[in-house]
C-alpha cells in the first residue's frame, strides 16, 4: 500500500491504496464516487472516462501510482467545470436509456468541447467513441450539435 495524493473535482485528497489500483477503483471504492462506471476494464467501452489533467482518459487503465499529484475531474464535478449545459441537454433531449454509459459519454463530450467549439461529425466519431448498448447514438450526436449551437450563440452574445 502507498499513499497517493490526487486533486479530484478541485479537492485535494489522499488515499492509501496498492500502487497498481486503477484510478477507476480508487474513485469508486476508496473515494466513494460511483458516478464513474466500470464497463470493461480494458479501455474499450469508455464508461469509466474521466478528465485527467484536462484530457479524456479511461480510468480503468491508469494506475494510481502513475498519476499521483494529478488533477482529476469526474462526472460528479462536471457541472462545476462547464458541463452543466451538456447535463441539462442530456435530460431535456431524453438522450439516455439505461444511462449506465452516459457519464463516460458526457465526460468524453465535455473534453471534446475543450478542443473544438463546433465539432464536426467526424470529430464526434473519433472523440466520443464510447459504447452504448441501448443505441442512444443518434441522440448523443443531436445533443452535441445542439450544445455546440448554444455555446456558439452564448459566445456571440458575450
Amino acid at each position: 500500500m502507498s499513499e497517493i495524493t490526487l486533486k479530484v473535482n478541485g479537492q485535494l485528497l489522499s488515499v492509501d491504496v496498492a500502487p497498481d489500483t486503477p484510478l477507476l477503483w480508487v474513485l469508486r471504492d476508496h473515494l466513494g464516487m460511483t458516478g464513474t462506471k466500470f464497463g470493461c476494464g480494458i479501455a474499450q467501452c469508455g464508461a469509466c472516462t474521466v478528465h485527467l489533467n484536462g484530457e479524456a482518459t479511461r480510468s480503468c487503465s491508469v494506475t494510481a501510482e502513475a498519476i499521483s499529484g494529478a488533477e482529476v475531474v469526474t462526472i460528479e464535478g462536471l457541472s462545476q467545470t462547464g458541463g452543466a449545459v451538456l447535463q441539462k441537454l442530456w435530460a431535456d433531449m431524453n438522450v439516455s436509456q439505461c444511462g449506465y454509459c452516459q457519464a463516460g459519454v458526457l465526460m468524453a463530450t465535455a473534453a471534446m468541447f475543450k478542443q473544438t467549439a463546433k465539432p464536426t461529425d467526424a470529430e464526434i466519431d473519433a472523440l466520443v467513441s464510447n459504447i452504448c448498448r441501448c443505441g442512444t447514438y443518434p441522440r448523443i450526436r443531436a445533443a452535441i450539435h445542439k450544445a455546440a449551437g448554444m455555446m456558439v450563440a452564448e459566445g456571440a452574445a458575450a
Binding site: 500500500m1 496498492a18 497498481d20 489500483t21 486503477p22 477503483w25 469508486r28 471504492d29 466513494g32 464516487m33 460511483t34 458516478g35 462506471k37 466500470f38 464497463g39 470493461c40 476494464g41 480494458i42 474499450q44 467501452c45 464508461a47 469526474t74 462526472i75 460528479e76 462536471l78 457541472s79 451538456l86 447535463q87 441539462k88 442530456w90 435530460a91 431535456d92 433531449m93 431524453n94 438522450v95 439516455s96 436509456q97 439505461c98 444511462g99 449506465y100 454509459c101 452516459q102 457519464a103 458526457l106 464526434i124 466519431d125 466520443v128 467513441s129 464510447n130 459504447i131 452504448c132 448498448r133 441501448c134 443505441g135 442512444t136 447514438y137 443518434p138 441522440r139 448523443i140 450526436r141
Partner: protein, 753 residues
C-alpha cells in the same frame, strides 16, 4: 387482481418500508441529492402520507409513486407514474418514483401484482396495470377533493383539481394537495370515481416528458446495482467454471489469503441451494425454474480490486464436465446440420398437406444464427447479506418476483425473511430476467454470513457466463405455384437451451392466415451445455430474420417485387400489416432506382403475437445499403413504420425504436459467441465488436403514420429487433445478388463485379 381492492384504500399506515428512492431531484431539503453518500433505498413516502401502497403525498406536494416496474432504460417506470398522474391531476414536476417493494407485495398479498409479468421491467402500458394506475390516480384525486369539500363545507363537485391544486370554483379558494393529503388519506370512497375517456386525456399520448431518471443519470448520482453502498460492506470477485455445467475440482486458498485486504475464499456449490420451504409455491412462475447455482469460487476482500487480483492469482482446477468435449462451436452445430440433412423433426404445426404439392419451382435453403451475448454495459453484480434467518439484497433485477423467489430457493428462507431493494439497471435486454445472477450473489453471501457482500463479475466473467441468445438453424423448403406464390412451405428448425420459442415461425401469418395453403413446421432439439436465456425478443429475432429472408428468396425466384409479394400474402389477412408495409416502403422511396451497388430491403414482423390479428406490435423495416465492389458495407438509411395500436408517450416510443434498430444491426452484423473446448472465446469488447457512434446509419427514420389506433398500447422494445436483420440481408441481396443466410454478416464476403 384486475379490480382494485377497495379495502386497501383504508390502509394509511407507513409501517412497511422497502421502496427505493431513485436519485432524482430531492423530495425534500433533508434528502441528500448525492446518490453516493447515502443508502440508495429509502423508507416509503419521503415523509408523505400514504394514499395507497402505490401513492404517497407529502406536505410539500411531492407525490411519490411506487412503481412495480424496474427501470431498465425503456422508461417503463416513468410511464407507470405518468399513468397515475393523468388521473391524479398532479403537477408532473412534483412526481418522484420509487421501486415498489416485492417483500411488501408478498406481505400485503399482491398489492403490486397486477397484469402480465407484474414486477418485470417492461410493459409500462400493460392493459390491466395501466387501468389500475389510472384508477388509483382517480381515487386519490377524488379523496383529495372530498377532503377539501369537508374543510370548506362546500359541495365536492364545485372543486376542481389541477396541477396539484384544488380550487373551489364559486369562491376561487385554493388548497394544495399537500395541505389536505392527511385528511384525504382517511376518506373512504365507496364507489370508485369515473375515469376520463381517453379523448379527455391531457397528459398521456400528448406529453413526452424526459424520464424521471434522466437528471440523476446526467449528474452521476443515479444508483445502479454496482453503486450500492451498505455500511460494513465487503467486495467479492467471482469465477465460475468457464465451461458451463463444469465443477470446481480444486483450489488453493492459502496462496491468496495473505494478500492485502483479502478476507476469505468461498466456494459456491450448487448442491448447497436449500430449496423453497416445503408447502410454498412460487405464485408468479418464472425465475426459479430457469436457474440453478453454478459451481464457482469467490475471493472476498475489503475492496474490489484486491478481490480481483487475488482471484486472478488463485490456483483453480475445474472438472469441465460434458461440455468440455466440444472442441469448438462447430462441433455443436454439426449435430444440428446432421439433423437438418436427415429430414423433418417432430411436427409442431401443419396446415393442408405439403406432400400433396407436386411440380412447381422448389426452393431449399438453410439459415443459422449463433449464440450472442446481451452485453449490457453494467457488468453483472449484486449485494446481499445473509444470516441464519434473514436475507437482505440490493440488486439490479429485471423481474423482482423472480429475484425474490430465487433468493428464497437459494437460502431456504420464507419469503417474508427476504428483503429486496431494487436498484437502477445498467441495461439487460433479457439478461437479468431469470435472476441466475441474483442467485450467485446470494450463494456467495451465504458463505460469508452476517456481512453485506457486493459481488462483481468482471466483464470477462459476465461474458463467459452469459445466458446467450439461443442459436437456431432452420431449413426451409417452398414450392411456388404458377403465379410464383408459395403453395407449400416447410420449415425444420433446430434449437435447444432453456429458451426455445417459436414466435414468428410457428405463428407466422404466412402460415396461420392460410395464404400459403400447405405448411408444415417441425422442430428438433439441439443438445449442448451452453446456457441460454432471453435476448431482446427471444428466438423471435432469429425466426424473423430467417422467415423474412426466405420469403424474400421466394419473391426473387418468382421475379415479384418483395413489397408486392408480402402484400399479396398478408394484406387481406390483416390490412393493418399492409398499412405498415406500405408506409415504411413509401417513406423509404421504395422502388426509386438506385445506383449499382446499392439496394433496399424490406421485412416485417410482430412481437409477441404475429399469428393474431390486431395484436402485438407490427414493425416493418426498410434498409438502404451501399456495398463497394470490394465488399465494404455501409447502411445509408433505415426507415421503420410500426403499429402497436396506440402510444402513450411518443418520444419514449421513438427512443426505443431507434435503439432497437441499432441493437438489431449490431446483432446481425457483428455478434457471435464461439467456443474453444467448451468454453466461451469472446469475453470482452476487443473481440466482441460493438457499433459505436461512427458506425451508426446516418439516417434512422421512425414513422408514426402506420399506427392503427386500435385499442391497445403494446410494448415496443422487442418488436423492432425482428425485421431489422432480414431487411439488411434483403438489401444486401438487392445490392449485390448475394443472399446471406448466416449471421454475423461481418464474416461474409460481399464483393461484386
Amino acid at each position: 387482481m384486475s379490480e382494485i381492492d377497495r379495502r386497501s384504500f383504508l390502509i394509511t399506515s407507513g409501517l412497511f418500508s422497502g421502496g427505493m428512492a431513485l436519485g432524482v431531484a430531492p423530495a425534500s431539503a433533508a434528502e441528500p441529492k448525492d446518490g453516493t453518500s447515502h443508502a440508495p433505498w429509502a423508507t416509503d413516502g419521503s415523509g408523505g402520507v400514504e394514499m395507497h401502497p402505490w401513492i404517497s403525498i407529502a406536505p410539500d406536494d411531492i407525490v411519490t409513486i411506487r412503481v412495480p416496474t424496474p427501470e431498465v432504460g425503456n422508461g417503463a417506470a416513468t410511464q407507470v407514474a405518468m399513468n397515475v398522474c393523468e388521473e391524479l391531476q398532479c403537477d408532473w414536476s412534483k412526481v418522484r418514483i420509487e421501486f415498489a417493494s416485492v417483500r411488501r407485495d408478498y406481505l400485503e398479498k399482491g398489492i403490486y401484482t397486477v397484469g402480465r409479468q407484474p414486477m418485470f421491467s417492461g410493459h409500462g402500458t400493460d392493459p390491466e396495470r395501466m387501468k389500475m394506475a389510472l384508477q388509483l390516480g382517480a381515487s386519490a384525486r377524488e379523496r383529495l377533493q372530498r377532503a377539501a369539500a369537508f374543510r370548506w363545507k362546500v359541495w365536492q363537485d364545485e372543486i376542481d383539481a389541477k396541477d396539484s391544486v384544488l380550487t373551489h370554483r364559486p369562491t376561487g379558494r385554493t388548497l394544495r394537495f399537500g395541505e389536505v393529503a392527511a385528511e384525504a388519506a382517511n376518506v373512504l370512497v365507496y364507489n370508485e370515481p369515473d375515469m376520463k375517456s381517453e379523448a379527455e386525456w391531457t397528459f398521456l399520448g400528448k406529453a413526452s416528458p424526459f424520464k424521471l431518471t434522466a437528471p440523476a443519470i446526467a449528474d452521476g448520482s443515479a444508483v445502479y446495482g454496482i453503486d450500492v453502498k451498505v455500511p460494513g460492506m465487503v467486495h467479492a470477485a467471482l469465477k465460475q467454471c468457464p465451461v458451463h455445467g463444469g465443477k470446481l475440482k480444486s483450489h488453493d486458498p492459502k496462496v491468496v489469503l495473505g494478500m492485502p485486504g483479502v478476507r476469505a475464499v468461498v466456494v459456491v456449490d450448487p448442491a448447497k441451494s436449500r430449496g423453497v420451504p416445503k408447502g410454498l409455491t412460487n405464485p408468479v412462475g418464472m425465475g426459479m425454474i430457469l436457474t440453478t447455482a453454478q459451481s464457482g469460487v469467490a475471493v472476498i476482500a475489503d475492496h474490489y480490486w484486491q478481490a480481483k487480483k487475488a482471484l486472478d492469482a488463485l490456483p483453480v482446477e475445474w472438472d469441465l464436465g460434458p461440455g468440455g468435449k466440444f472442441a469448438d462451436e462447430k462441433a455443436v452445430y454439426a449435430q444440428g446440420k446432421a439433423a437438418l440433412a436427415k429430414g423433418k423433426g417432430p411436427v409442431i404445426r401443419a396446415r393442408g398437406d405439403v406432400s400433396s404439392v407436386k411440380g412447381g419451382k422448389v426452393l431449399d435453403a438453410s439459415y443459422a444464427t449463433p449464440w450472442c451475448e446481451n452485453a449490457a454495459m453494467e457488468p453483472l453484480n449484486g449485494t446481499a447479506m445473509v444470516t441464519a434467518d434473514k436475507c437482505e439484497m440490493w440488486v439490479p433485477a429485471q423481474d423482482q418476483h423472480a429475484a425474490l423467489w430465487v433468493a428464497v430457493d437459494e437460502t431456504g428462507l420464507m419469503p417474508d425473511k427476504v428483503d429486496m431493494h431494487q436498484t437502477l439497471i445498467g441495461g439487460a435486454f433479457g439478461r437479468r430476467t431469470a435472476s441466475d445472477d441474483v442467485r450467485m450473489v446470494v450463494a456467495v453471501a451465504k458463505e460469508y454470513p452476517g456481512v453485506p457482500v457486493k459481488v462483481i463479475w468482471s466483464r470477462e466473467e459476465t461474458m463467459a457466463q452469459g445466458r446467450f441468445r439461443t442459436p437456431i438453424m432452420t431449413r426451409f423448403k417452398a414450392v411456388l405455384d404458377k403465379e410464383g406464390m408459395p403453395e407449400a412451405f416447410t420449415a425444420h428448425t433446430i434449437l435447444g437451451g432453456l429458451i426455445a420459442m417459436m414466435s414468428s415461425l410457428e405463428d407466422s401469418p404466412y402460415v396461420v392466415s392460410g395464404a400459403i395453403p400447405n405448411a408444415e413446421i417441425s422442430s428438433t432439439f439441439l443438445p449442448y451445455h451452453v446456457q441460454t436465456g432471453a435476448y431482446r425478443g427471444p428466438c423471435y429475432n432469429s425466426h424473423s430474420f430467417m422467415v423474412e429472408s426466405f420469403i424474400d428468396e421466394c419473391a426473387a425466384a418468382a421475379k415479384i417485387d418483395p413489397l408486392d409479394y408480402r402484400l399479396r400474402l398478408i394484406d387481406k389477412w390483416d390490412p393493418a400489416w399492409g398499412v405498415v408495409l406500405k408506409t415504411a416502403a413509401a417513406k423509404a422511396d421504395w422502388g426509386k432506382p438506385l445506383p449499382k451497388g446499392e439496394g433496399r430491403g424490406i421485412a416485417i414482423a410482430n412481437w409477441p403475437n404475429a399469428g393474431l390479428r390486431k395484436n402485438g406490435t407490427t414493425v416493418c423495416c426498410v434498409v438502404h445499403v451501399a456495398v463497394s465492389r470490394s465488399g465494404a458495407l455501409s447502411v445509408k438509411q433505415v426507415d421503420l413504420a410500426f403499429d402497436c395500436g396506440k402510444i402513450a408517450n411518443r418520444d419514449a416510443v421513438a427512443a426505443q425504436l431507434e435503439g432497437a434498430v441499432i441493437f438489431g444491426l449490431n446483432s446481425v452484423i457483428n455478434e457471435e459467441i464461439t467456443l474453444k473446448n467448451g468454453a466461451v472465446v469472446e469475453t470482452n469488447f476487443d473481440v466482441y465488436p460493438m457499433m459505436r457512434i461512427g458506425d451508426v446509419p446516418p439516417v434512422i427514420n421512425i414513422h408514426f403514420d402506420a399506427l392503427s389506433g386500435d385499442d391497445r398500447f403494446q410494448p415496443v422494445g422487442e418488436a423492432p429487433v425482428g425485421p431489422v436483420a432480414a431487411a439488411l440481408g434483403n438489401a444486401i441481396f438487392a445490392a449485390t445478388g448475394k443472399r446471406l443466410r448466416q449471421t454475423p454478416f461481418r464474416k461474409a464476403r460481399l464483393n461484386w463485379t
